[in-house]
Amino acid sequence: MPIRVCDLLSIEKVNTTIPMKKQFIVAFIALISFTTPFITRAQTAEKQATIKVSGEVTTPLTIDAAYLQKFTPTTVVRKDRDGNDHTYTGVTVAEILKSAGVTLGPELKGENLTKYLAVEASDGYQVIFALAELDKAFTDRAIILATTVDGKSLAPGDGPYRIIVQDEKKPARCIKQVTAMSVHFIK
């Protein structure tokens, strides 16, 4: 079924009483809601996952595999639910945040200690880390954004990006399928 012109026209008529910015949101949502059944599934296959880095940063980033290449890889060994050790390789989360201009290192003091990193997964699951948990000057415990396990890419249900928290007993913050990282002040 094609998108019918009348569907699109009615979007325009709809919004004449709403302020401009809202018009776009409405038009967008309406458009999605009218067109979703018509979008073919062929488009969906090849796209690569990315991670948005936002919030209290000087440079918002959209991270992909190529971007991660510029950092030195770090390795963390961690027991999984099966009780066996697994070797994860990736990039220290602090390094990624530094490249976005987050206040780590010498700047992590005073009110900056009330900042936290919120990590979100593709299923909407969220966990947080205090910035101080991520900083080498505070702790030797490594928190990395892993891309491989035991030398292989992460399983599709776990990756392509997963946070691995060294030595943390529960796996709940080893969040899988990461899609966003944002830094905020506590309210």
Partner: protein, 383 residues
């Protein structure tokens, strides 16, 4: 354990000099509260959103749309207002009926014409805590959500501009809009804001499960066993049986705002959130819907494919379909070593269903404050 936004402190002994000031203040307070009962008996003032403390305060109210008693009343009028549709026959309540926890009992719903909705109607309960709306979470607030059914050509099929015009001519509405917004102007923005205020008051917190958490209800043995299965991971190696439901449906509100593929199809007809993320791993991923009042909201799933909870349990127990998007929480989760589906016993399914029935809140579906105000008098939730 109810949270209150207003607190009345008892008047204590006052120093003599301050007595007069207090009297003056009291006079003003009484005069002001008189305003609380303006035109046609509609109460005004801040709406007290009462809910149990264990629901938490991560609620979602936009700064430009605070919840007021008059706003909620107007929203309730509008929720039940067929004039908001092109044919004057369809209101929100056609597809969201209170007695069915605001669903409509159909796999797909009919609006103003013969074209059915592409997905099944959703229950409207505890939306105050939700941040993403629709089966694919594409609407980021109630206000923008409401614009979709209002203007969708097959649901209510009327532009907000025409809706505003029609209401301006309908008796009662201009005065109500004035009460809520300070002047008689009726706009699409004001319509969706009022509807959203009403939706935020649809709080369900009086099921047997809530009472159990509150230590005022003792579950039956069957309900207890069902609850345990619902909350446990199956570990056949050490003889622990489980159904693992809480991974996605857990928590005191029976809702966690997650998006998963629960193994309905190996090739999903409806791609779910993959339609806008474009990722293979998002294929067939949908909002994990609330299980609150689940016994009242059949048929089940985004396409209403299951008529009964027995069919739902059979699905999780025996028919999980493998695909790229299948949630890891449902992969290799089984009560049999090496199994790919849960493999629950017949009586275990019944126990889980007994637990699911504990989530029915009969107060919610009979509360006059949520019903059509044309049929019931102007009334607010007393709590």
């Amino acid at each position: 354990m109810l949270k209150r936004t207003r607190q009345y402190k008892p008047l204590k002994k006052l120093p003599v000099g301050k007595g007069r000031i207090v009297l003056v203040l009291l006079f003003f307070a009484v005069a002001l509260s008189g305003w609380g009962y303006l035109s046609n008996g509609v109460e005004t003032g801040t709406y007290n959103l009462a809910y149990p403390a264990n629901f938490g305060n991560r609620i979602n109210i936009p700064a430009d749309n605070p919840t007021t008693k008059q706003g909620v009343y107007l929203g309730r009028m509008l929720f039940y207002e067929p004039k908001l549709s092109a044919t004057n026959t369809v209101s929100c309540a056609n597809c969201h009926k209170q007695e069915k926890a605001f669903t409509d009992g159909l796999p797909f719903s009919k609006g103003i014409d013969e074209v059915l909705t592409t997905r099944s109607s959703m229950s409207l309960a505890n939306l105050l805590w939700a941040r993403k709306f629709f089966w694919d979470g594409r609407a980021t607030g109630l206000e923008v959500q409401a614009m979709v059914p209002l203007t969708n050509p097959h649901e209510m099929g009327q532009s907000l501009e025409i809706s505003a015009k029609k209401l301006s001519k309908a008796p009662g509405y201009p005065a109500l809009f004035k009460l809520v917004y300070g002047d008689k102007k009726i706009t699409g923005d004001r319509i969706v804001k009022a509807i959203s205020q009403f939706e935020r008051t649809l709080i369900s917190s009086n099921s047997r499960y809530d009472k159990y958490l509150n230590n005022t209800y003792k579950p039956t043995a069957e309900e207890m066993d069902g609850m345990l299965l619902f909350n446990s991971d199956p570990q056949p190696e050490i003889g622990i049986r489980g159904a693992n439901c809480a991974h996605c449906h857990g928590g005191v509100k029976n809702y966690m705002e997650l998006f998963h593929n629960n193994g309905l199809d190996s090739i999903p007809k409806d791609a779910g959130i993959a339609e806008f993320t474009g990722l293979a791993t998002d294929e067939g991923r949908f909002k994990v819907p609330t299980l609150r009042n689940i016994a009242l909201t059949a048929p089940y799933m985004h396409d209403g494919r299951f008529k009964t909870l027995d069919e739902v349990l059979d699905h999780y127990s025996e028919h999980i379909q493998e695909s790229a998007g299948l949630s890891t929480f449902l992969r290799n989760e089984s009560n049999e070593p090496g199994g790919t589906s849960l493999k629950l016993e017949y009586y275990e399914k019944k126990e889980i269903i007994a637990f699911l029935n504990m989530l029915t809140d009969s107060t919610f579906i009979t509360d006059p404050a949520f019903a059509d105000p044309r049929l019931r008098p102007a009334q607010h939730r007393k709590s």
